[in-house]
C-alpha cells in the first residue's frame, strides 16, 4: 500500500463520525453510550494514526474497532446485570421519532431484539453494505459463520416483522412481498 497518504485526524473524524456513531448506536441501542464509544474509537484511532495506511484502511479500522468496542460495552452491561433488551427496546422507542418512516423505526426496533452476533452481521450488511467476506474480516470471524448469522438473523427478523408489523402489510402485498419468507 502507498505510504504517500498522510492521515489527517480531523478530516477522518468529519468523514466517519456518522458511520462510527451509527454502528455503536445500532449495536448498543443507547445514544449516550454510542457517543461515548464513538469518542473512544476516534481517540484510539489517534493513538494508532501512524499505522493507518490508506483511506480504505482507516474506514476498515474504524468499523472493526467500533464493532469491537460496542461488543465490549454490551458485555460490561451484561456483567453489571442491566436488562439490555428492555433498555434497548426503550431507547429505540425513544429514537423512533427520528425516523422518517414508521416502518423503518419499527424494523430498527425489531433488529435491536436480535441476538448480538446476528445483529452485528445484519448492521454491517445493510447499514454499511458490506459483503459477507468483508463482514468476516471486520468481525474477525469465518465467512461461513457470518453467512449463517446473516441467514438466521434475516429469517428471525422476517418472522418478527410478520407478527409485529401487520399494520404495514397492505392487502395483496406483504412488506416487500417477502415479509414472512424464510
Amino acid at each position: 500500500m502507498s505510504r504517500n497518504w498522510q492521515p489527517e485526524f480531523e478530516k477522518l473524524v468529519d468523514e466517519h463520525q456518522s458511520m462510527v456513531f451509527s454502528l455503536a448506536l445500532r449495536m448498543t441501542g443507547d445514544r449516550g453510550l454510542a457517543e461515548e464509544i464513538a469518542q473512544d474509537v476516534f481517540l484510539e484511532l489517534d493513538r494508532h494514526l501512524n499505522k493507518i495506511e490508506s483511506p480504505a484502511h482507516a474506514c476498515f479500522w474504524l468499523r472493526r474497532v467500533a464493532m469491537s468496542r460496542s461488543a465490549d460495552a454490551l458485555r460490561k452491561r451484561r456483567v453489571r446485570g442491566v436488562d439490555l433488551w428492555v433498555e434497548i427496546d426503550e431507547n429505540h422507542g425513544a429514537q423512533a421519532e427520528e425516523h422518517a418512516s414508521p416502518l423503518g423505526a419499527r424494523l430498527e426496533q425489531l433488529l435491536a431484539t436480535l441476538p448480538e452476533p446476528q445483529r452485528a452481521a445484519l448492521v454491517l450488511r445493510y447499514q454499511e453494505d458490506l459483503t459477507p467476506e468483508e463482514i468476516a474480516a471486520t468481525l474477525e470471524q469465518p465467512v461461513a459463520t457470518v453467512k449463517s448469522h446473516l441467514q438466521r438473523g434475516l429469517k428471525l427478523l422476517r418472522a418478527k416483522a410478520a407478527s409485529h408489523l401487520r399494520e404495514f402489510i397492505r392487502p395483496g402485498k406483504r412488506i416487500g412481498g417477502s415479509l414472512s419468507d424464510g
Binding site: V20, R26, G104, L107, Y126, Q127, G176
Partner: protein, 106 residues
C-alpha cells in the same frame, strides 16, 4: 435483494452523529496530548537529573582516584629520595673505609 431487505437497508441508513461528538473528540484528544506532553516533560526532567547525578558522581569518583594516585606518587618520590640519601650515605661510608684501609697499608 428482495423488498424486505431494501426496506431494512432504508431503515438502517446511517444516522447523523451528534453535533457535539467532534468537539468532544477534539477536546479529549487535546487533553490527552497535554497529559502525554506533561508525562514526557516529567520523564525528561527525571532523565536529566539522573544524568547530572551520574556526571557528578563520576567526577567525584575520578577526583578521588586522582587524589589517591597523587598521594601514591608522592609516597613513591619520598621512598626514592630516602633510597638516594641512603645510597649516598653508604657511598660516603664506603669511600671513608677505603681511605682508611689505604692509610693502614701505607
Amino acid at each position: 435483494m428482495d423488498d424486505f431487505e431494501q426496506e431494512l437497508r432504508r431503515a438502517l441508513e446511517r444516522r447523523l452523529a451528534p453535533l457535539s461528538l467532534k468537539r468532544k473528540v477534539m477536546e479529549r484528544r487535546r487533553w490527552r496530548r497535554m497529559q502525554l506532553h506533561g508525562h514526557a516533560a516529567l520523564w525528561q526532567r527525571l532523565a536529566a537529573s539522573l544524568l547530572l547525578v551520574a556526571v557528578l558522581g563520576g567526577a567525584w569518583k575520578w577526583r578521588q582516584a586522582e587524589e589517591e594516585r597523587r598521594r601514591g606518587e608522592a609516597a613513591r618520590e619520598q621512598v626514592l629520595t630516602a633510597l638516594r640519601i641512603t645510597s649516598h650515605a653508604l657511598d660516603e661510608v664506603n669511600s671513608r673505609l677505603a681511605a682508611h684501609d689505604r692509610a693502614g697499608q701505607e
